[in-house]
Amino acid sequence: MSTHEERNPLTVVSPRSRRRRLQGRLMELLASLAALIAIVVLLVVIFSVAKRGLPAVNADLFTQVAAPFGVEGGGIKNAIIGTLIMTAMATAMAVPVGVLLAIFDTEFASPQVSVAIRMTLNVLAGVPTIVIGIFIFGLVVVSNGQSAFAASIALAIIILPVIARATEEVLLLVPSTLREGSMALGATRARTVVSVILPSAFGGIVTATIVGVARAAGETAPILFTSSIFANAVVTDPSQPMASMPFAIFTNSESPSQHDQQVAWAAALLLMAFVLIGSIAGRLLSLRTRRQIEQMR
C-alpha cells in the first residue's frame, strides 16, 4: 500500500511520454472521427431520402402508373410490380444454382477445384454490372427483344456469387464432428449433405437468399439494356419488358418535373427501406444461425 507513494517507473510521466500519449489520443480521436463521418454520411443520405420521399408516399404512388406527357401526377405501380417479379425470378434462378455450387465446393470438390471455383466466384463478383448488362443484351436481347426475363438472368448472374459465398460460409461453419458422425454411421457424402448439413445450414441459406434479394432489387445497370422500353401499364408477362423501381428512380432523377423528382425520392425511400431491412434481417438471421451451429459443437 505504501508503494503508491514511491515513484513507479512505469507511470512516470516525462515530457516525451506525454507527447506520445497525446499523439496516441489524437490518432484515436481521428479514427473515431472517421467512424463518425461514415455514420453521419449514412444518416444524411437516409435522412435526405426520407425527408423528400415521405411526403410523396401516398396512395397514388402504388395505384397509378406514370402520367402521360405534360400531365402532373402518376405513380410507380408498374415499377413496383416489375421489380417484385424480376427479383423473384432472379432469386429463383440464382438460389438453387448458388446453393448447389456451394455444396459442390465444400463437400465434393477436391481442394484444387475448390480453390478454382472460389476464385471464379470472386472474379464474377468483381465484374462491373454494366458489363453484365452488355453481355446479356448481346446474348438474349438482340435476338429476342427486351424482356423482364432477360433482366432477371442478368440479375441472377450478379447475385449468384453473393448467394454462393454466403452459403459456403455457413456450410463451412457446420462442425466437422457432425459430418464425421454421419459418415461413421454409414451415410454417403451426399446423404450427409442432405440430411445433416443442409438442415443445420438452412438458416444461413435463407440469409443468403435475403441478401441476394436485397441486392437484386437495387441493381440498375443490368436493366438499362434489357428492360428499358416498356408499356406504361402493369405488365406481368415475363417475356415482355417491365418497368422496375431502380429504373424508375434513374429516369425520374433526371426529370425537370418537381413531381417526377418526388416520385424518384419516394421510390428511393421504398427501395432503400426494403434493402436496409433485408440487410438487417439477413444479419440477425445469420447471427442466430451461427449461434445455433455453435451450440451443436
Partner: protein, 357 residues
Amino acid sequence: MEMTGMQRVTKTAALAMALAVVALAAACGSSGSSGSSSGGGSTSTVLTGAGSTLVAPLISQWEPDYAKSAGITITYGAVGSGGGIDAITNRTVDFGASDAPLSTDQATACKSCLQIPWALAATVVTYNVKGVPDKLKLTGPVLAAIFSGSITTWNDSQIASLNPGVNLPSTHITPIYRSDGSGDSYVFTSYLSAVSSDWKSKVGASTQPAFPTGQGAEKNSGVAAAVQATDGAIGYVAVSYIAADSLNEALLQNAAGQYPEPTTKAITAAADAVTTIQPDGSVPLVNPPASAPDAYPMSTYSYAIIPQTSPKAKQLKAFLTYAIGPTGQAFGPDLGFPPLPSAIVAHSKTVIAKITT
C-alpha cells in the same frame, strides 16, 4: 422411406437446376422474329415502338385515343432517336421513331426500312440565367461559338450586341447537350453546321456529336432538368418541352435576318419553304433560305421508321394513316406541332402503301 426422401430432395434440386439450365438455353437458343410482340401474326392488338423524345408527347396523346378508336394498344419507349433506330434495326420493336433520318450505314443495317414523316416540330434553344429575361436573341455563329467554347460568359460582347438593353451578367456559360443518341442533337448540329463552317469541320452533324465542351444529359427531359438546375446554362430541347417545363426560349436569327419565335406558324413557314424530298425519303428543314422570312431555322420533321416487310403490316399501316391523318395531327398544335403540309401527307401515304407482310 429415408432413401425416397433423399431421392425426393435430389429430384427437386434437379428440377430447379433443369429450370435454370432451360432458362439459359432458351435465352441463347431461340431465333428471334419480332421479339417483344405478344404473338406475331396479324391478329395482335399491340404495337410497340421506341425512339425520339421529341415526338413522344404527341404519341402519348395518340395512345389513349387510338386505343379507343381502333382497339390497338401502342407501347412507346421514349429512349431517344438513336435508341429507336437501334431497336427497329434489331426488330425488337414494331416501329421506330427518329427525328434524324437514317444514315447510309444505318439504312443498310436496317434492311429495307422506310422513313415516313409523321410529325412536324422544331428544336429550340433554351437557357437559364439569373436576371436575363425570356426571348434572348442569338445568331447561328454566336451559338456555334458558345457550344464550341469560344464564348464563355453571358456578358460577352457578341451576345450583348445582339441584345441591347438586356442586362447580361458575367455568369459562366454552361452548354448542355444530349449524351444519348438524339434526333434533337442531329437537328441542332445540322443547323450549326449549316451556319458555321468552323463547326462543320470541327464537330459536324450527328445524333451523338462530340461536343467539345459542356455537360451531357439524357433525353429531352434530362436537358430540361439540367438547364433548370444550373445558373448560366444553355441547351436545346424539343419545342413541346419549352411550354411543359416553362423554360426560356432563345430567338434564333434565320437566313432572312429575322428572329421568329418557334410557333406553329414559323415552323409551317419553314416546311413550306423546303419542299424537296430527298431520295432517302427525308426532308431536312434546318436553315431554310432567306426567301422564307418568317421561317424558324431549326424546324424538323420526325420520322416513323418501319421495316418494309413486317408481320404487323396491317396494324402499322392503320396506325400510321391515323397518325398523319387529321385525327392524329389534331393533337399537334397544343404541343407545338403544326399539322403536316398536304404534300408531305401525300408522300407519306405513298410510302405507307409500300409496307407489306
